[in-house]
Symmetry: C2
Subunit: 68 residues, 2 copies
């Protein structure tokens, strides 16, 4: 089991949180996604590490920016 944490920029409301959660949840092997609007913290839980590149692609697909 892997848990990765990232910071997402540009989210302003619950709809934004839903969009990011939905896109990241669709990545292969991901079993849980938590997004905190106030801090921008994104936590991705998966069987194996997903990796920054794929997480970034999903966040950008949702329309937001991976800050780190």
């Amino acid at each position: 089991m892997s848990t990765e944490t990232y910071e997402v920029g540009g989210m302003t409301c619950g709809h934004c949180v839903s969009s990011v959660t939905e896109e990241v949840s669709e990545l292969p092997g991901v079993s849980d996604v938590q997004v905190d609007l106030a801090t921008g913290r994104l936590t991705v839980t998966a069987a194996e590490p997903v990796g920054t590149d794929r997480v970034r692609a999903a966040v950008e697909e949702a329309g937001y920016t991976l800050l780190g």
Copy 2:
């Protein structure tokens, strides 16, 4: 033809604009809805005036506040 303008509070992003547009568009007789995120301005075009009460109900159903 009637055009009413209102101010909506609480919208922070394009998803919010979409939610307000969708709810207000469902009101009877409404033929066009324009929402400007930057100003909060909501413009409702309908065959007959929709009225503040029904517009407020739709805006609140979307999760936002009618300021005036």
